[in-house]
Amino acid sequence: MKSLDELNIIRDRAKIKMKSKKDNTELIRVVVGMATCGIAAGAKPVLDALNDEVSKLGLGNVAVKQTGCIGICQYEPIVEVIEQGKEKVTYVKVNAEKAREIASKHLKDGNVVSKYTVGGTIDSVDDGICSVDDTAFYTKQKRVALRNCGIIDPESIDEYIAVDGFAALGKCLTSLEPDEVVDIVKASGLRGRGGGGFPAGLKWGFTAANKADKKYVVCNADEGDPGAFMDRSVLEGDPYCLIEAMTICGYATGADEGYIYVRAEYPVAVARLEKAIAECNEKNLLGKNIFGSGFEFNLHIRLGAGAFVCGEETALMTSIEGNRGEPRPRPPFPSVKGLFGKPTTENNVETFANIPQIILKGAEWFSGMGTEKSKGTKVFALGGKIMNTGLVEIPMGVTLRETVEEIGGGIPNGKKFKAAQTGGPSGGCIPAEYLDIPMDYDNLLQIGAMMGSGGLIVMDEDNCMVDIAKFFLEFTVDESCGKCTPCRIGTKRLYEILEKITNGDGTLEDLDKMEEICHYIKENSLCGLGQSAPNPVLSTYKHFKDEYIAHVVEKRCPSGVCKNLLSYEIIADKCRGCTACARVCPVDAISGSPKNVHKIDKAKCIKCGACMTRCKFDAIIKK
């Protein structure tokens, strides 16, 4: 790209291609969600079927495109039909057959196939609603980082340019000094979306202030937090945006080289990034003398290989350097001594994804959203016991209640909300009493949870909080790098205590020891992994102490999860003596003759639950 003018020409041309109304050829744009989730659910055959049918039917005015994550992942595969002047139609749970039907009825004849639309398919959505945009799930959202996801074709640089892509980079390179760029980012109040919430502008400023012959920009796309996939969505749905943002960061901080460290489990993201980088190199949006400004920037991709700790910034850099991903002590901080020993700015994908918009629309626009200390929006990955699992981007400060009940559609099967876990293995849980606090960095920290990367797992009354804590601990024990004593041995011992408790062997002294060692690990560990590993334990202990006590004192798991503490019983009044349970029991623990009340021998029972599922008369209960 030699100049802004050149960019504008491409943009205008691409816009016409996307919208195309000028010459009355009413282009119909059909997009298929082709992010991992969509592909997993079978979007590829849908895309093929659509293409096939469109060409068979000779629909010259229909453009079938792939796109990234549309957000309602559980209703994949998703097909959207966008026609000028008409309302968008969202088809969900599409398969090849349905796709062909949609092609002939809707694309050819113009009749919406309502039974396959959101409204027609999803119980919780009003029948009349055809577009996902009109669902509660969407209307509450405010899309900044995800604005192009599910809209543009992530493999087309022209489509990115059509939605003002690279305009922010052009603006920076042609009319802003590096320190002005840093100032804008500072003024926007943007905080790191990777977990820590450190102000991005400050970080950029630190690196910019350090003189060095070489500096780097690193994008943390390791997204190791189980249950979070917002970074993946950006990488898969809007890869050019990340490239643009990193280049801007390079310009602002004085770096001429960047690395994107992507977790290996994201092959689709890697493929799209590779393609995007190649194209940017070709179009001189990377490389030497970008926009004729003399600024040079080059970008590389490095793949992780399955280590959660590599999301920690120093471990990530050790890993890029080609080593075991063990964290290094800080200070020195990356802005002083980072990748290959050089000053480095490291940010998360979602953090970067906000940058171009901030440059184009201004710091005030951005800081106009959110709360006093947390500006802008945050993407959450809703999961667990919730109707609408998927990705939502909402302004900071929306309450958990709105998020769960309105956007998330509430909890399935009429169960009761118990808690939401945020921040994954480093985070904590938010119990029902805090459903109404506005979610932002500081509020979450204050109640012992944390924003983390934005994973939001909803739990209902059937989830045992001790078991959940143990689950996260098992994760950290597995993922500890093993370098420092508190984490290598401490988390293991903590896990063992939790195991003891869920097995029914815990004592009150164990609870004290558990708390003590939690605080010890937090204080003494070398890196953030260990420092935050006890959080799930501490926060569940704080909010659900009674559950812990029940396990320890009454040897009872109130939610009926911890196998060792369960027992199955037959209620004599309800049992009809049908013998079904006895026949299904794998260990012959049930005795009784036909037509007579049956009985479970608790000593023999292995708690598999098979009998309970089998009994037609609800005579078997779990205690």
């Binding site: 991992t36 997993a40 992942c73 994949e76 489990e265 399955g306 080609g322 075991r324 999961g383």
Partner: protein
């Protein structure tokens, strides 16, 4: 978990050695490419046995222990071959909450092996994995490239049989 070192005979071909050689040739100037080379080697050979790690250490001019240390640090690297059909069971939060542990237990029971192992006929191997980004379909397992969602333990046997019969 400690990495299992396979005792199976190494069966690398000339052609594979050539492929790996070419990759090393392109990377050997930059030691930070070591992990990339190992990833490529695993794509070529399916796993990273002694013979392959020696080739990498020699080619990249790094100590063998460094290669081995890396190969046992990252969970993606494996020291034993994968079965023809590799079954990964997601134990990510969403899947766990919806019962993927029971699914895993069932898979192990049906195949008679543990996670990280390969059946003696080399037909199946099992691994545990973290979120594969299909949480909406939880609990999820992935066999080779195919994803099966919304599973109950009872579904496992049938799915495995499908693959058994294919081969």
């Amino acid at each position: 978990m400690k990495k299992r070192i396979s005792t199976l005979q190494f069966e690398g071909t000339e052609r594979q050695a050539r492929q790996l050689g070419n990759i090393i040739e392109g990377c050997k100037k930059d030691k930070s490419m070591l992990m990339y080379v190992m990833q490529q080697a695993q794509l070529i050979y399916g796993y990273l046995p002694y013979e392959v790690q020696v080739m990498i250490a020699e080619g990249m001019d790094v100590p063998l222990e460094k290669v081995y240390g890396i190969s046992t640090f990252y969970s993606q690297f494996t020291l034993s071959p994968k079965g023809k059909n590799n079954i990964s069971v997601c134990l990510g939060t969403a899947c766990y909450v919806k019962g993927s542990k029971q699914v895993l237990d069932k898979v192990c029971e049906v195949l008679g092996i543990n996670p990280g192992e390969c059946t003696s006929d080399r037909l199946f191997s099992i691994e545990e994995c973290r979120c594969i980004g299909a949480c909406g379909l939880a609990p999820v397992i992935m066999i080779n490239d195919e994803v099966y969602g919304n599973l109950a333990p009872g579904d496992v046997e049938g799915i495995i049989d499908k693959y058994r019969n294919k081969n």
